[in-house]
């Protein structure tokens, strides 16, 4: 494509600059992959080995930690709870968030900025700050110790940033596309669902990852609201390895290695949509 870097005709200076940039990016890649490698390798060690030899390969590759975690400590159940809660929350974050973004970015109405700032307020303070009033509200709704409590909280936490990011992207879409669709007789909802959503695929993918990760890894709200064993999530289970005076690093790293897998899977799946976004832009 003409917009790719034309290396053949480029000046030497340009080539050198690009080379330096490439090296910087590669250094960053190494800085990313090493900790990942470190974490997974540590899951095969015992706590004492991790503390004594944190950087060396394990003497024996033993899956004992994995078995202890999954079977004895009931992490299979925690994993399922995490999946249920995260997926449920994310589905509605994307749906309600994109709908609200569409409403704000494509329609002008008097309360537009107010509504926008209301959504934005949601990110301006960590919800943790208001845990006691939040607990009272959840209690009034009789949702304490139910999965729904965390699902609603996570939906509420995900929507503000989603609206903020998506509204920004939706604004960049030229008006003629919308006019063309209206002239063709599309209803508002169809314009939203069949034109804007696909066009924003890459930003929706972005927003999904941006929100899914903190929701998946959050241990605070499930800790407060999910008190029964059968509802606990993965991060809550992991937090139990942090004793007051000792930490079970071996099992902790095993748990962290397991926990990152769904996130990586989701990410690889979503990353296709970055390409989609590019192609859609080109086809326009």
């Amino acid at each position: 494509m003409i917009t790719d870097f034309q290396l053949r005709n480029a000046s030497t200076l340009k080539k050198i600059i690009l080379l330096i940039c490439l090296v910087v990016m590669l250094i960053y890649v190494i800085l990313i992959l090493y900790p990942l490698f470190n974490m997974v390798v540590s899951s095969f060690k015992t706590t004492r080995q991790i503390l004594q030899h944190p950087f060396s390969l394990p003497e024996t590759v033993s899956f004992a930690n994995y078995k202890t975690l999954w079977v004895d400590k009931g992490f299979a159940n925690y994993f399922i709870n995490s999946i249920i809660i995260t997926v449920s929350a994310m589905v509605f974050v994307v749906i309600f968030g994109s709908m609200a973004s569409f409403g704000i970015s494509r329609y002008s109405f008097k309360a537009n900025t107010l509504v926008y700032m209301l959504f934005l307020s949601g990110i301006m303070l960590p919800l943790k700050a208001a845990i006691i009033p939040l607990f009272l509200i959840i209690k009034k709704l009789a949702l304490v110790n139910t999965r729904l409590s965390c699902i609603f909280i996570f939906i509420a936490m995900g929507i503000p940033s989603t609206v903020f990011i998506l509204a920004g992207f939706m604004k960049m879409i030229p008006k003629d596309i919308e006019y063309a669709a209206r002239i063709d007789g599309c209803s508002d909802f169809r314009i939203y669902a069949q034109i804007f959503m696909p066009l924003c695929a890459s930003s929706i993918a972005l927003v999904t990852i941006y929100n899914a990760v903190p929701i998946w890894n959050d241990f605070f709200f499930p800790l407060v609201f999910l008190q029964s064993e059968k509802f606990k999530t993965l991060p809550v289970g992991l937090s139990s390895f942090f004793g007051q005076n000792s930490t079970n690093w071996g099992l902790l790293f095993t748990g962290l290695s397991i926990a990152i897998v769904p996130m990586v899977v989701m990410y690889l799946f979503m990353s296709k949509y970055f390409i989609r976004g590019m192609i859609a832009g080109a086809i326009k």
Partner: protein, 304 residues
Amino acid sequence: MNGKSLRKTGTILMFVTPGLLIVVVFILMPLLMSLFNSMFNWNQLIRAEFVGLENIKKLFNTYPYKERFFNALGNNLRWFVLTMAIQNTLGLLFGYLMARRILGHEFFKRVFFLPVLFSIVAVGFLWGLYLRPNGLLNAALAAVGRTDLQHAWLGEARYATLSIIMVNIWRWIGFPSLVFLAAIDSIGQEYLEAAYLDGAGEWQVFWKIVFPLIIPAITVITVLTIIGSLNVFEQVYTMAGLDGAPNYATDTIGTLFYRTAFGSVDSGSPEIGIGSAISVVIYLMTFFFSLFSIIFTRSKEVEL
């Protein structure tokens, strides 16, 4: 005329209401209640008499609140400046390079976002390991013969916050990279083609065409950085604890707020009144700085 505007209102409501309702009930209401709490004195966990703005005044005027607050705020400012200067600039650079399909861009695209997927606990502990006195960073410095540069990265007041900020930048560069990548991608290819065919150089194309057109993305990143810098908590908590060790050098208004409002196991009971006052101040600052950013950049938005 009336029917049309009613339908229009109805449409807008349909799109906006579900999200707004959930956010109002589960976020805004608790936050308002908690801001309201700042106007009362508290007897441990029980609300006592109404005192209006007393708590906020106390926060700004009395020892030790004043000292801690401004110390923490200074650190938050460091967070913001360094994050903008390093994380977002590098992010823009990487995003641009990937949009222009530099060698290996498919690979980079996928790998750059990996650190975001780690749990903060993992990040905190792993980097804590590398930054230990006998950790990888110091070992690497020794290997190149620069033992004079070795430090207790998380233990010395001068380097502690800096180190934590760098770890956070490490974690998040991928995010602005991908946001800017998506933004630059969404610029119609035909505009860029036209510019290149007209003989414009890289630098010109970037500053005159690409940059103005991605201002909404820049707004998004800037505002998220402002909000993030004022609210930073998890990363500091994991790497330096709740009390701003060492000697408040890593303290941020987020950790100050949390230990004031909820108490800290090692050092004290909650003071809900002052804690809520801190949250009022955080909220107001975040609100106004974000608003200014948005207004400022909205005025610079360019439409096609």
